[in-house]
């Protein structure tokens, strides 16, 4: 795809490109026929793979009694073997290998669900996702494909949530169950984020920003929620949340400004900062009146202005 778009638009907006030449300049933005072929090839393959995988999961979830369990197991195992066979045949193909492994992972999930339906083991739902994540690990490892690892991370996150729905009460004397879930999710996603960033130095295929940003988003959103909980609820230890939040913010601002420039991460940090600081100030007021609300609106505007000015300056620095 053309990466000239932003630059050409800049030139049009600056009127560097005369108006009668705009049409000609835009030909640098539009994809050529060859680009369309590659793009449509990828899109159709992904859409086809995803549709078939999700269709299988829906089919098993429907729990159709007219078809016996034996037939369903047979069908799923055939699909699984088929997907792995396609991977084996096209392992070197840039895309087919990846799509077939994602498809195999979806079929595996459907098999786990069918296993639960058939044997009524009394197992908790968290076990389904945990086993699924465990069994897909070898495929994630050989795929060298970030999306497979993101699927693995999502499955572990689901496992944590469902596990705590069952066993969260065990630690009830020490932790609120929901908070414990969120702390675990925060710790897990942050850990994966750190490991991912370190490994991406040695494994170039891991250096895909969307996946790292997704992990940072999961980590940042949960920590911000936990800090807000600590600010507004008296039963939570504000000190722990504050220490973790400040450390996380410090690490974020240092790493993504000095070590590996990433404005997305810094913007996320700024938004978290605006939310947490304004919530803290708001909560510290003993009464809410005209003056307090005026201070709050001014505070948010000032924090937003400082953040955007700083980020825009960094953006200009990165551009040049």
């Amino acid at each position: 795809m053309s990466s000239n778009r932003k630059y050409i638009i800049d030139l049009i907006n600056q009127q560097v490109i005369p108006s009668d030449k705009i049409k000609e300049a835009l030909t640098l933005i539009y994809p050529k026929r060859g680009d369309w072929k590659v793009f449509l090839d990828n899109l159709l393959l992904w859409l086809g793979g995803l549709s078939l995988g999700v269709a299988t999961i829906f089919f098993i979830a429907y729990n159709w009694k007219d078809i016996g369990y034996f037939a369903k197991f047979g069908m799923l195992e055939l699909l699984l073997i088929g997907a792995i066979f396609v991977y084996y045949k096209f392992a070197d193909h840039k895309l087919i290998g990846k799509v077939s492994l994602v498809l195999a992972t979806l079929f595996l999930g459907a098999t786990m669900a069918l296993f639960g339906q058939t044997y009524q083991t009394g197992a908790d739902p968290w076990q389904l996702f945990f086993n699924w994540s465990l069994l897909m690990l070898p495929w994630a490892y050989i795929s060298k494909f970030p999306a497979m690892w993101i699927i693995w991370v999502v499955l572990i996150n689901l496992t944590i949530v469902l596990y705590n729905q069952v066993f969260g009460g065990t630690f009830g004397a020490f932790f609120n169950s929901d908070e414990l879930t969120m702390w675990l999710i925060f710790c897990f996603n942050s850990l994966v984020l750190v490991v991912w960033e370190i490994l991406s130095k040695y494994r170039p295929w891991l250096d895909v920003r969307w996946s790292v940003r997704l992990l940072a988003l999961a980590s940042g959103v949960t920590l911000t929620s936990l800090t807000l909980n600590a600010i507004f609820k008296d039963n939570t230890d504000l000190m722990i949340a504050a220490v973790v939040w400040f450390s996380w913010m410090g690490a974020n601002f240092y790493l993504y400004q000095k070590v590996k420039a990433d404005l997305f991460m810094l913007t996320g940090g700024c938004i978290s900062g605006i939310i947490v600081i304004s919530s803290f100030v708001f909560n510290s007021f003993t009464k809410i009146d005209v003056g307090e609300l005026f201070i709050m609106s001014l505070l948010v505007i000032i924090l937003g202005t400082i953040s955007s000015l700083w980020l825009k300056r960094l953006n200009m620095g990165i551009k040049s």
């Binding site: 800049d10 050529k32 072929k37 899109l43 549709s51 605006i274 609106s297 948010v300 937003g304 955007s308």
Partner: protein, 350 residues
């Protein structure tokens, strides 16, 4: 920077520009910085509203007055955003405008005795006007988003649900196809285009489809298939428009075959609500090299697939059948693409 120099050299070679690369580039910040500005403007507007409510608490009971104060706020925001001297004034302008909009809505809700049709209609008119008038990118995105959403809700309340999604899909497609038709208004067009694309994702989602019954308590004059028929026509229009620049290079038969294949896709995706709009956004994004739009499309596709499970209208078995048939069609279409040679020619941009 190297990439920019290469592009500049190509432009010079083609005789489009002359001289050295301009040193100054427009300081257009990435979408996430714009999101931060929009977010802090929205947060500040909540406190401004509280502040205004306490100061004018006696006057606000007179609903006409609250609307007039809201209009004054928006006028003030217009002046601030028009003469935008700094980021600080941009934040104040956004907050003031959002607070003003809430005051106007508050007035309308009470003056109309909470008549839903009047409220959503007024909201649609107000947001459309703001999207066209307000001189700020973030404001236009937000206003276009709410204008499209309130339009969908308005039609639903009037007993015509499902139609809006097709119409908004058309407007969204038209805007992105004509993105560069009005170079002097490019930023306005793009901002409104993003607003419509975001709204379309929401309106076409299975969750919104389930919620439509909440909006429409009157007799329904329209059916879901009507909306999907409009969507299919829009999808065909998009494919036809996207092929137009290449029609001199490819035979007429290929154009007709592509349109027939598109029609097959549209018919197959009839029951899979929202899929065609996600694919359309991805195609439009690719056609103009817009990665943000492609990202919207992919994100909405994933959200749509995971929320399709919860669509109440049909059973899981039917959903499974539809997706299975669609999957086979996609794989078949890819096979057809591999076999045809019409797309092979033509150099690639990369």
């Amino acid at each position: 920077m190297n990439n920019q120099n290469t592009t500049w050299s190509i432009l010079v070679d083609k005789g489009i520009v002359k001289g050295d690369t301009p040193l100054e580039t427009v300081n257009d910040s990435p979408w996430y910085i714009k999101t931060l500005v929009g977010f802090s403007g929205w947060l500040a507007s909540i406190f401004i509203l509280g502040f205004i409510a306490l100061i004018f608490k006696d006057i606000l009971d007179q609903y006409l007055t609250s609307s007039i104060i809201g209009i004054i706020f928006i006028a003030g925001a217009f002046v601030l955003l028009k003469n935008q001297k700094s980021d600080f004034f941009e934040h104040i302008g956004l907050s003031l405008s959002l607070a003003g909009q809430v005051l106007i809505i508050y007035g309308i809700v009470n003056i109309s005795n909470s008549k839903e049709a009047v409220i959503w209609g007024a909201l649609f008119l107000m947001q459309t006007s703001l999207a066209l008038i307000m001189p700020n990118f973030i404001h236009r995105v937000l206003s276009a988003f709410f204008a499209a959403f309130s339009f969908a809700a308005w039609l639903s309340v009037l007993g015509m649900p499902y139609l809006a999604s097709g119409l908004i899909m058309f407007l969204c497609a038209w805007i992105w196809i004509n993105e560069f038709s009005y170079p002097m208004h490019h930023r306005k067009v793009v901002a409104i285009g993003y607003g419509f694309a975001l709204s379309l994702i929401l309106i076409k989602s299975p969750a919104f489809f389930n919620a439509l019954s909440l909006f429409s308590n009157t007799e329904q004059l329209t059916k879901p298939w009507m909306g999907e028929t409009i969507s299919s026509c829009v999808f065909l229009y998009v494919v036809w428009k996207l092929m137009k620049p290449y029609q001199k290079e490819i035979p007429q038969v290929a154009v007709i075959v592509t349109l027939i294949i598109t029609l097959i896709f549209c018919i197959a995706s009839y029951e899979v609500l929202g899929l065609s709009s996600c694919v359309m956004i991805i195609l439009l994004g690719f056609s103009v090299g817009n990665r943000i739009l492609i990202g919207f499309g992919i994100m909405s596709l994933l959200i749509f697939i995971s929320s399709y499970y919860y669509l109440l209208e049909i059973t899981l078995l039917e959903k499974s059948e539809h997706l299975f048939i669609l999957g086979l069609i996609f794989i078949f279409l890819r096979w057809v693409l591999q076999q045809t040679k019409i797309w092979n020619k033509g150099e690639s941009n990369e």
